[in-house]
């Protein structure tokens, strides 16, 4: 798969980009990442939940428990105003960065 550090660097951005669409819970996030990336990125719970908690502590997202219909509790996450600002900033940064890296590492010969 991928090197751990590579995923760590972009995990926060991926999580915020998903949560931006609306409140989401851990399992849903993990599943969406798997399907969106065609099973290329399979996030383990051991990485996902500590990352969500770190982001919550830093004020990027807000977590809240909600009871499901079957009576089981689920913790949902939504993006905070500060998180939205950071996401916009990081998204722009990421687009610039990934485009620049792709230009260098792609097979196309450099003119």
């Amino acid at each position: 798969m991928f090197e751990r550090e590579l995923l760590k660097g972009s995990l926060g951005l991926m999580l915020m980009a998903l949560i931006e669409q609306g409140p989401m819970y851990g399992y849903q996030i993990a599943k969406l990442i798997r399907t969106h990336t065609n099973d290329v990125i399979d996030l383990k719970e051991g990485s996902l939940y500590p990352a969500l908690h770190r982001m919550e502590k830093e004020g990027m997202i807000e977590g809240f428990w909600q009871r499901r219909d079957d009576g089981v509790d689920r913790r949902y996450y939504r993006l905070s105003a500060e998180g939205q600002r950071i996401l916009d900033e990081r998204r722009a940064q990421w687009n610039r960065f990934s485009a620049a890296v792709s230009k260098v590492v792609s097979d196309a010969p450099i003119q």
């Binding site: 851990g26 399992y27 849903q28 383990k44 051991g46 939940y49 500590p50 908690h53 509790d73 913790r75």
Partner: protein, 177 residues
């Protein structure tokens, strides 16, 4: 019961181990909810369903609790060692100003002064946040203090001969890498 997946939980433990007990319990609660979601999802891979079983998550929780208790015990031990060595070094400093007056000769005052310098070195070493420098300071300070007491030229040499090695012992324990 399914076999305990060592590699999976060692990664999880590594992440959870750095969190507070409250945060850890909250994550374990979420893991249980995650497992229930996985169990209800027909497209979930069997690995997620298997390793996420609540009792296995609780097993990690129990293990981490014991890790946290051991860490707290270790922190308490460290605090008391720090207090003992600080008190010892401070006593040496204070008494080194008083003792020479009993002998009343120049050698006693010189050795008392040198002992103060070495005791200060030990004290700084004990509190030094960088263990490598701390070890050197503790080692040189306490070894110097022991050497001050070696020649038995003064009436209070035995005091340094006891305090020097004791400071070395406690200080080196504190500054262990």
């Amino acid at each position: 019961m399914l076999p305990f997946n060592e590699s999976y939980f060692s990664e999880l433990e590594q992440e959870l181990g750095s969190l507070s007990a409250e945060e850890r319990d909250s994550i374990l609660r979420e893991l249980r909810s995650h497992t229930e979601d996985a169990c209800a999802d027909p497209s979930a891979d069997t690995f997620t369903v298997q390793v996420g079983l609540p009792e296995q998550a609780a097993k990690v929780g129990r293990h981490l609790r014991s890790v946290h208790i051991a860490a707290r015990r270790e922190a308490r031990k460290r605090r008391s060692t720090l207090i003992i060595s600080t008190l010892m070094a401070s006593t040496v400093i204070v008494l080194s100003f008083i003792f020479p007056w009993f002998d009343g000769n120049l050698i006693a005052f010189i050795l008392g002064g040198v002992a103060v310098v070495f005791a200060v070195l030990s004290l700084v070493g004990v509190w030094m946040p960088k263990p490598r420098i701390g070890r050197w300071l503790v080692w040189s300070g306490s070894a110097g203090l022991t050497l001050v007491g070696m020649p038995a030229l003064i009436s209070f040499s035995s005091f340094y001969l006891i305090c020097g090695p004791l400071l070395l012992l406690t200080g080196m324990r504190l500054q262990r890498a």
